[in-house]
């Protein structure tokens, strides 16, 4: 679908590529249009045309085109087949046992369709020649449209406002104390610190000694101990270090686990 007016109120189009083959019937809008044109050449009222003669003219026309080896659209061939049949029905008297529509009925049908198409063409012409809006007849050139003043009535109470303020500010509070938050050692951090401190040390050293520098800070004491302890269990499980505790609540010793082929010193 095209939006350009140039397309929809078209001046005659250049023939499309696929229509070029049908050049001899390209001027017609289908077989009925062609038949109507042929019928008009009989120069009599459509009710009085010789349908037989018309059928012969049509068949002759199509034959000429085909003789020139020009392809004809299927529509035209279907009509040709039907007209050939009509012709045979008109020329051969109908047998009483014959259930097929008679040649006269078929001819009447064709005449009806031609008359109807012509009537619609005439109607279309009468329609477009009527006094048309914006061509012959005009609406108010400066309409005064109803101005709808759309006003948004915003609803918000003072309570809503204060609640929103309080919520917003409270949500911001933890960010003011981020230093406090930083003092939490994540397991990952603790593990990295511990691995670095133990290094390749194969001697038993208490955890508290390793963490000495951190434990002096009361803000870090708990988190450093708890996270390091948890990380030491994980490192022991992975076989990277060994743990030893000789009595309940006694100091927790740890050392790097000796690797295969390496003797502990």
């Amino acid at each position: 679908m095209s939006d350009t007016p140039a397309d929809w109120f078209a001046t005659p189009d250049a023939p499309r590529e696929d229509e070029v083959l049908y050049v001899d019937v390209a001027g017609y809008e289908g077989p009925l249009d062609l038949l109507l044109d042929l019928a008009r050449r009989q120069k009599v009222d459509l009710g009085k045309i010789s349908v037989l003669a018309l059928a012969e003219q049509y068949l002759g026309f199509i034959q000429t085109i085909r003789d020139r080896r020009i392809e004809v659209a299927a529509d035209y061939l279907v009509m040709a087949a039907w007209l050939a049949y009509l012709k045979s029905r008109l020329m051969v008297p109908q047998a009483p046992s014959d259930d097929e529509p008679s040649g006269e009925m078929m001819a009447a049908l064709l005449q009806f369709r031609l008359k109807r198409l012509e009537a619609m063409r005439k109607a279309a012409m009468q329609l477009v020649n009527r006094p048309r809006l914006a061509r012959d007849v005009f609406a108010r050139g400066q309409p005064e449209p109803v101005m709808i003043e759309r006003r948004n009535l915003w609803e918000a109470s003072l309570y809503d406002l204060l609640k929103a303020y309080a919520n917003g500010r409270e949500r911001g509070v933890p960010q003011d104390y981020h230093l406090f938050e930083r003092t939490v050692w994540s397991l990952q951090e603790a593990r990295e610190i511990l691995t670095r401190l133990i290094g390749e040390n194969m001697d038993w050293v208490p955890l508290d000694a390793y963490l000495d520098q951190f434990l002096s800070d009361p803000a870090q004491r708990k988190t450093a101990t708890a996270s390091s302890f948890a990380s030491s269990l994980e490192l022991a499980r992975q076989g990277q270090i060994e743990l030893r505790q000789t009595l309940t609540f006694g100091p927790l010793f740890m050392r790097r686990r000796q690797q295969d082929g390496k003797k502990p010193s």
Binding site: M1, S2, D3, P5, D7, W8, F9, A10, T11, E29, G30, P31, L32, D33, L35, D75, M105, A108, L109, F112, R113, K115, R116, L117, A119, M120, R121, K122, A123, A124, Q126, L127, V128, R130, P131, R132, L133, A134, R135, D136, V137, F138, A139, R140, P143, E144, P145, V146
Partner: protein
């Protein structure tokens, strides 16, 4: 106003209230470029106003003037007088010519409505390119009405108020040559002699039409 209207609108419409309503009606109809229905006008007038009667009275006042109040289907609009077209004619709009196929299709839909695409093609004896219907939908002159209750449920087409407005028709029964066509049985889709000759119909859905599917609606709005 409610008090006076209690005395009967017949009297009112010719009295002072009626005169005021006529002024308001005149202003509203003048202000709008598009035809308006009585239902659209009613809110502007006093309660209980007889809008159709007021429209008739206003139309009578403007009869014979340079501007007429005309009926377009269920709606009304001020339009310049037909007979002045020779003075006012604007030629540049002539270039907006519909193709022959589109024009023929429009006429067939107008005279045979409600009509399906297949019915239009049957009359024309040729398959319509989809483009023809699209073009006509874009003009806003035809609309999808519903779906025919037959196998395949084809969409039925009819004309719009914009069609009536554009071609200056009071209603679909105003179509040129309609009586003659009806008399000759050419509006029938059947073989003659057909006993019942259908007339074009742009009213509500008929017995053999279903409403459009919700999906159809997007396509169905004529482009204004």
């Amino acid at each position: 106003m409610t008090d006076t209207s209690a005395t009967g609108s017949e009297i009112d419409e010719h009295g002072e209230v009626g005169e005021r309503n006529l002024r308001i009606l005149e202003a509203i109809m003048f202000a709008s470029a598009e035809p308006l229905s009585p239902a659209e006008i009613a809110p502007y007038l006093g309660e209980g106003a007889d809008v159709p009667l007021l429209l008739e009275r206003l139309a009578a006042r403007y009869a014979g003037r340079g501007v007429n109040l005309v009926r377009r289907g269920d709606k009304w609009a001020f339009r310049t007088a037909d007979d002045l077209s020779f003075l006012l004619r604007r030629e540049q709009t002539e270039s907006r010519q519909l193709s022959r196929a589109a024009l023929e299709t429009l006429a067939i839909i107008a005279y045979h409505q409600p009509a399906t695409r297949a019915e239009v093609e049957e009359v024309r004896g040729v398959a319509s390119g989809g483009g023809t219907f699209d073009v006509l939908m874009q003009t806003g002159w035809i609309r999808m009405r519903g779906r025919r209750r037959t196998p395949g449920r084809p969409v039925t087409y009819g004309t719009t108020e914009a069609f009536l407005d554009h071609f200056g028709l009071e209603g679909i029964t105003d179509l040129p040559g309609l009586e003659e066509l009806k008399g000759s049985g050419l509006l029938s889709s059947r073989l003659p002699p057909a006993f019942q000759v259908p007339l074009p119909f742009d009213g509500p859905l008929r017995d053999d039409e279903d409403p459009l599917d919700p999906d159809d609606q997007g396509e169905s709005d004529p482009v204004e």
